[in-house]
Amino acid sequence: MIYLYAITGPLTEPPEEQGLAGAPLETVGVGSLTAVYSSHEQLELRPDVESAWAHEHAVEAVMSSQTVLPARFGTTFPGLDELRDALIPHADALERRLEELEGCVELAVRIDPLIPIDGQMADGRQYLMEKLFAQRRREALAESALACLMEFAVASRVAPTPSSGETVSISYLVQTREVRRFSRAVARLQTRWPEFALSCTGPWAPYSFVTDEPALSTSTEAEIA
């Protein structure tokens, strides 16, 4: 079985990093693309912390030297032939996307309300009002953050991700040279909005930008058309 980590441009040697279950990374060229994968006799893929970081480390190993399109977690093929067959119809779109993403990384911004609404509040009406007010403040901050951080970004996507809950989660595509300025802008936003906790993690591979779908897409499907 083949587990796919990433697609990239020409790559002469596999990165020296271990993949899932400690398997070495391997590469196969398809036209001008290279698929980075690991081979497994048997792989029982568990969605746990170790597997998540193993996938990420493999992606980062490629990203350290060139532009990369990370694969969706859990993408497997019975063998190399099937991987090639799946890759070929998308090759043009993937090559184009790799060019467009050159020099860019993804930064993840998360906006959490610091003061949780008290569920024990006696008055149901007051609870709802508080909740509505908090929601409006969060939306205002998200809008302000979007506008202010876009100064340092190429593109952005607001993700209604399953883990979000009360959190607003925004992905930014940022040129590598702008990462520090972007990061400082998040710190400034945090000072301006003390009632929220802002976090900024990355640089990630461009997981949220593997297709050129318009920003603010509510779709969680990242299928290449």
């Binding site: 697609i7 350290s64 993700a159 520090r180 976090s199």
Partner: protein, 67 residues
């Protein structure tokens, strides 16, 4: 192109490693290229990841995640 820092180094991060894990899982499960291979994770598995992540999130002191 050379990128000096990566997410797992956390050098550009304002969040804790737990926040980075949540951001990573969001991206792994909803982002990335889908080539029409088998996505071996069942929906139930994905729900399970998020249930355990929520437990993690609630144990993260969010005040510390700001900087």
């Amino acid at each position: 192109m050379s990128i000096g820092t990566t997410a797992s180094d956390g050098l550009a991060s304002h969040g804790s490693r737990d926040v980075a894990l949540i951001d990573l899982v969001d991206r792994l499960l909803a982002g990335g290229v889908v080539l029409g291979g088998d996505i071996t994770l069942a929906v139930a598995d994905i729900d399970l990841v998020y249930v355990s992540l929520r437990a993690l999130i609630s144990s993260v002191p969010v005040t510390g995640a700001g900087r």
